[in-house]
């Protein structure tokens, strides 16, 4: 089975994000990067399926050349090969999906795995968009996945804790959510592999963004709060404030 895992380099979740001088993008000073959280579930799923069914798991990313660090982490975890579409621009989900789809057309694929959402742009859209561009079925927000006889049996998390069971014919796109698996840590052999791996780099072929950011603002500051009191005796006063002052109950 040919598996391709699409990942994104994103600011770590503990990063403080401040708008930069252009007022449209964030100030990268002091920001650390890592594989976007949910993409780790996609990497793990790709490796597990390859181990079970045989084949190859290739990791693919669109981003600046420094993204090779995240690609090497995926190799260290157990992926077999890595491709990078090089671009320094900030792409939205549409432009990202177009660039990935253009590359994916040149790569054999049975299963395309994505994180269900990115921790930075949070559009939760790239996987579905790639599926549309390639004319493939897609299950998003997947928390259980099995492949059998050319069919992916997936469960997606929908509202109210419900799970929707969907079976789709391969090739297919699956976007992965927490709960699907526990991403492994790289081992010694993996780390050695990651060092040796030559990353297939090519320039990204991305169109203009579909949605354009015209302004990036900090969230409105919250007014200073107050400590109502200590211990259970303060409960009545708090409820009084919520009822009479904040008027939320």
């Amino acid at each position: 089975m040919e598996i391709i895992v699409c990942i994104r380099r994103a600011p770590t979740t503990d990063a403080r994000i401040k708008p930069g001088p252009d007022g449209k993008t964030y100030d990268p000073a002091g920001v650390n990067f890592d594989i976007s959280e949910y993409d780790k579930f996609a990497i793990e799923a790709g490796i597990e399926l390859k181990e079970k069914h045989g084949g190859k798991a290739t990791v693919l990313s669109l981003g600046p050349t420094v993204s090779s660090k995240e690609l090497r982490t995926a190799i260290a975890m157990g992926c077999d090969a890595a491709s990078l579409l090089v671009s320094d621009a900030q792409h939205d989900a549409w432009a990202t999906a177009c660039a990935l789809a253009a590359k994916l057309k040149t790569m054999p694929h049975d299963l395309l795995l994505f994180g269900w959402n990115s921790v930075d742009n949070q559009a939760a859209a790239t996987g579905q968009m790639v599926a549309e561009l390639l004319g493939l079925p897609c299950v998003s927000v997947t928390v259980a996945l099995e492949v059998k006889d050319g069919v992916a049996h997936a469960e997606r998390l929908s509202a109210h804790g419900n799970r929707e069971r969907i079976a789709v014919k391969l090739p297919a796109v699956i976007t992965c959510q927490k709960g699907l698996n526990k991403p492994r840590q790289p081992n010694m052999k993996g780390l050695m592999n990651a060092k040796k791996t030559v990353i297939d780099e090519s320039p990204a072929n991305a169109p203009a963004n579909g949605v354009v950011t015209v302004k990036l603002d900090p969230p409105p500051p919250r007014p200073a709060g107050k400590i109502v009191g200590k211990g259970p005796e303060a409960a009545k006063a708090l409820v009084g404030l919520l009822h009479n002052e904040a008027k939320v109950v």
Binding site: T13, D14, A15, K18, Y38, D92, W94, V119, Q122, A124, A125, G127, Q128, M129, E132, L133, L136, P137, C138, V139, V141, V143, L157, S158, A159, H160, G161, N162, E164, R165, V168, K178, A208, G210, V211, V212, T213, V214, K215, L216, D217, P219, R222, G225, K226, I227, V228, G229, K230, G231, P232, A234, A235, K236, L238, V239, L242, A246, V248, V249
Partner: protein, 330 residues
């Protein structure tokens, strides 16, 4: 530029959902600014009566796709319909709710329309002749104002936009499609029910969340979690959790609030025994009013809380439940 706004109104149990009506309200206000009409689109059998009522909530026109193919959810089936109707109504904007369903099909529909997606928006309006949408990014650590070159495709965060009360007599038009169940790429075969009647943290008006301070529900924290559930029931609230709690297996993944969980913006968020790590704050700072209960008066959660009580969850939570019960009775 065309001036109409197409709104996919999500339905459940043969009724528009609250989030669906909120999206319709936003669509009506946007259409008024543009000088066009809000067109509500509904799918599925058995919605004729409800479709006819949508003029009361901001629809100028209603489109109903009642075909059997829409009886069960399909990402590509719905995306295809919405793309078709966006073209047919010459929509300047296409809106849906940022729910598990809306997020799923709208991305595919936007791509079919050769467009991007403004996901999970908290504001949408016309500024300088352009439709601008505001969306929290980096889990609410920043707000991006975005626009589209052509049609703006957007999903709207539940509980942020007001439902409209209008007296429009909106005609209902039946929409036909040329495809059937056999043409779909993916169809939901079965729904495994979560806890029956469980309120989703992302959609609830009030959320009470528990953190590591409540301790293990299978051990010494048993009573604390029961107390939290009682507080939630009294308030009609959903129960949320920090990641520490979810990772420990104390609560299901779907309850996690934060940057790698759900982003919530209820009118009231009550954080109990939660320290207020940056990833947790990212997911709930958009709440209207925040209450924190923590034994440590230096906990970062108090920096974003409007009201706080310094104390032990063991006795403060039951005292709150009693006080709320009394206030709600009167």
């Amino acid at each position: 530029m065309s001036k109409n706004v197409l709104v996919y109104v999500e339905c459940a149990d043969l009724r528009p959902t609250k989030a669906g009506l909120q999206a319709l309200g936003a669509g009506q206000r946007l259409a008024r600014q543009l000088g066009g009409e809000a067109v509500a689109l509904l799918t599925g059998p058995g919605l004729e009566a409800e479709a006819a009522k949508l003029g009361a909530h901001g629809a100028n026109k209603v489109q109903l796709a009642a075909a059997e193919v829409f009886a069960t959810y399909s990402q590509d089936g719905l995306a295809r319909l919405v793309t078709q109707q966006a073209a047919a109504t010459q929509a300047a904007a296409v809106l849906a709710s940022a729910t598990p369903m809306g997020k799923d099909f709208m991305a595919r529909a936007a791509a079919a329309g050769k467009a991007g997606l403004a996901a999970d928006c908290t504001d949408i309006k016309v500024e300088g002749g352009k439709i601008h949408a505001v969306r929290p990014v980096y889990a609410g650590k920043a707000l991006a104002t975005v626009e589209a070159a052509g049609v703006l495709w957007a999903t709207l965060r539940p509980n942020v936009f007001a439902v409209e009360a209008t007296a429009i007599s909106a005609p209902v038009e039946n929409v036909n499609v040329s495809y059937g169940p056999g043409d779909l790429k993916s169809v939901v075969r079965e729904i495994v029910q979560g806890v029956k009647g469980k309120l989703d943290v992302a959609e609830a008006e009030i959320v009470v969340s528990g953190g590591r301070g409540l301790k293990d529900p299978a051990g010494e924290g048993k009573q604390n979690w029961e107390n939290l559930e009682k507080l939630a029931t009294t308030l009609g609230a959903a129960v949320g959790a920090s990641r520490a709690v979810v990772d420990a297996g104390w609560r299901p993944h779907g309850d996690q609030v934060g940057q790698t969980g759900k982003t919530v913006s209820p009118k009231l968020y009550v954080a109990c025994g939660i320290s207020g790590a940056i990833q947790h704050l990212a997911g709930m700072s958009g709440s209207k009013v925040i209450v924190a209960i923590n034994k440590d008066d230096t906990a970062p959660i108090f920096k974003v809380a409007d009201y706080g009580i310094v104390g032990m969850v063991e006795d403060v939570v039951p005292a709150l439940t009693a006080a709320f019960a009394e206030t709600l009775k009167s």
